[in-house]
């Protein structure tokens, strides 16, 4: 991203966009280092403030992700040094950290990709409600601000802030582990993860005011595809699902949101062919765990890969594997919007999903 960017054009919105794209990785890495979500989040937020001050003047660092991780890690260490409990934690961190994650950690590519995978599985732990899973994923991995997450759910910022605080408290108090589940647990654990990616995706499509949301599931799906290449749903079908519908998105949607600058910096639409190249999956393929992935339960756009429309959302009020009770707006239903996408109904991208009870919780 942006090596050739002219520093003069790097305004606050651009810094925000780059930061949003990179911060999930940094948050994941720092949770892995410090074992504390709040600390990681706050430190990355502080790094953002530093970036806002420096990047427009000095230009983009060669490796923005590495810069964010290093800056945030130093801020976190500074904070821990100021607290007595923090000093204990710090000595534990120093004792536990493998050498390669110490000072040089954020140099080069700078990150351990597994940290993001661990974070996905923590955010999408079945012990958390689906709404909470989506909110946490958007906030921690997607780098969205609390107010943006609140916007996706159509709730007040304070309400979302409380929900996120409660969720993080549960993760800490109940000790929801920060790790990728063992192979035999993966089938059950993949389902909510895929459901969340799907819901995030739907949220993006139904919120023309925030193109960042729309790009997010594509990015999450790519991360999953890289990290879990053996899961057919993730490795092949999901990128097809998301980008198939994502790419032909009309650019003429009325601007309803306060961030025209964010809109102008949204990634350019990709061609369908380009997207399809990613979706090499066959319909109905089973994973190594002998089951269909969650996406196959949610929507089946691969049956009509040429379809350009929005994926069929689950009918309001219907049970939906992993979806729990999507809040107004998040699945794009019952959402009182004054400005809608063009009135022409876009064709549905697959059959109406079969309602199935979730197999967890």
């Amino acid at each position: 991203v942006g090596d050739g960017d002219d520093p003069a054009t790097l305004d606050r919105a651009e810094v925000g966009r780059i930061f949003g794209a990179e911060s999930g990785r940094s948050v994941a890495t720092l949770i892995g280092v410090f074992g504390d979500i709040d600390l990681a989040e706050d430190a990355v937020q502080e790094a953002f403030a530093v970036a806002l001050g420096r990047w427009p003047a000095d230009g983009l660092p060669p490796n923005p992700g590495g810069w964010i991780t290093t800056t945030a890690r130093n801020r976190a260490i500074d904070r821990l040094r100021r607290e007595s409990r923090g000093r204990e934690l710090l000595s534990e961190v120093a004792a536990l950290s493998p050498g390669d994650r110490e000072p040089g950690m954020a140099e080069g590519t700078g990150t351990v990709p597994d940290d993001r995978l661990r974070l996905i599985f923590t955010c999408c732990h079945p012990a958390l409600s689906t709404q909470t899973q989506v909110a946490l994923t958007l906030r921690l991995l997607g780098g969205l601000s609390t107010i943006q997450v609140a916007g996706a759910f159509l709730v007040a910022e304070a309400t979302m802030a409380r929900r996120l605080v409660r969720a993080k408290h549960k993760i800490k108090a109940a000790r929801i582990p920060y790790r990728v589940p063992a192979d035999h647990q993966l089938p059950g654990r993949m389902r909510p993860v895929l459901a969340v990616v799907y819901l995030v995706y739907t949220a993006g499509l139904t919120d023309p005011a925030d193109p960042g949301l729309c790009a997010e599931p594509v990015r999450l799906a790519r991360i999953l595809a890289t990290l879990l290449p053996d899961e057919p749903e993730v490795g092949r079908s999901l990128p097809c699902t998301t980008s198939c519908s994502w790419s032909p998105r009309p650019r003429s949607w009325p601007s309803t949101g306060p961030s025209p600058s964010a809109r102008s910096t949204a990634p350019p639409p990709r061609s369908l062919g380009e997207d399809r190249a990613e979706g090499r999956g066959d319909v109905g393929e089973r994973g190594p765990h002998g089951q269909h992935g969650g996406d196959q339960l949610l929507l089946r756009p691969r049956r009509r890969p040429g379809c350009r429309g929005r994926a069929t959302p689950v009918a309001p009020g219907r049970a939906h594997p992993g979806a729990g009770v999507p809040e107004r707006g998040l699945a794009g239903q019952g959402r009182p919007r004054t400005a809608r996408p063009p009135a022409t109904p876009r064709p549905s991208c697959g059959s109406t999903p079969t309602a199935r009870p979730p197999t967890w919780g």
Binding site: H125, A173, A174, R175, I176, P177, P181
Partner: protein, 119 residues
């Protein structure tokens, strides 16, 4: 090591076919096996089945006086039927025990972390 309460939830007056002697023995055996497994793994701290809620008594302080009354404190159709207190490395480990417990007792299990064991 973090500790968890696995509470077994019973529904009062729940219509269900009475267990045959054989089923009862089977269930009893499964519960015993689970207890042995918990103990062998070093996870067991305590477990027990409770009598029906109408055997419960509530004690509270009201206007500086200790008041003793009949009945469970929470008037609900669902009540605590029994519980396990276990040690587990994290929630996932506790959930594995909980899934074995719900299979053995045939009732939903709630998994609660103990506050005192929070890091």
């Amino acid at each position: 090591m973090p500790q968890y309460l696995l509470s077994v939830h019973s529904v009062e007056g729940e219509a269900r076919d009475p267990m045959t002697d054989e089923e009862m023995q089977q269930s009893w055996k499964q519960i015993q096996l689970l207890n042995e497994e918990l103990k062998a793994a070093g996870a067991w701290l305590f477990s027990g089945r409770l009598h029906d809620p109408d055997t419960a008594t509530v004690v509270r302080v009201s206007d500086g006086e200790v008041l003793t009354t009949d009945g469970p404190f929470v008037e609900a159709r669902e009540h605590l039927g029994g519980f396990y207190i276990i040690e587990a490395a994290d929630l996932d480990a506790a959930l594995v025990w909980a899934s074995k417990a719900t299979a053995a007792v045939g009732k939903p299990i709630e998994v609660w972390p103990f506050a005192a064991t929070e890091a």
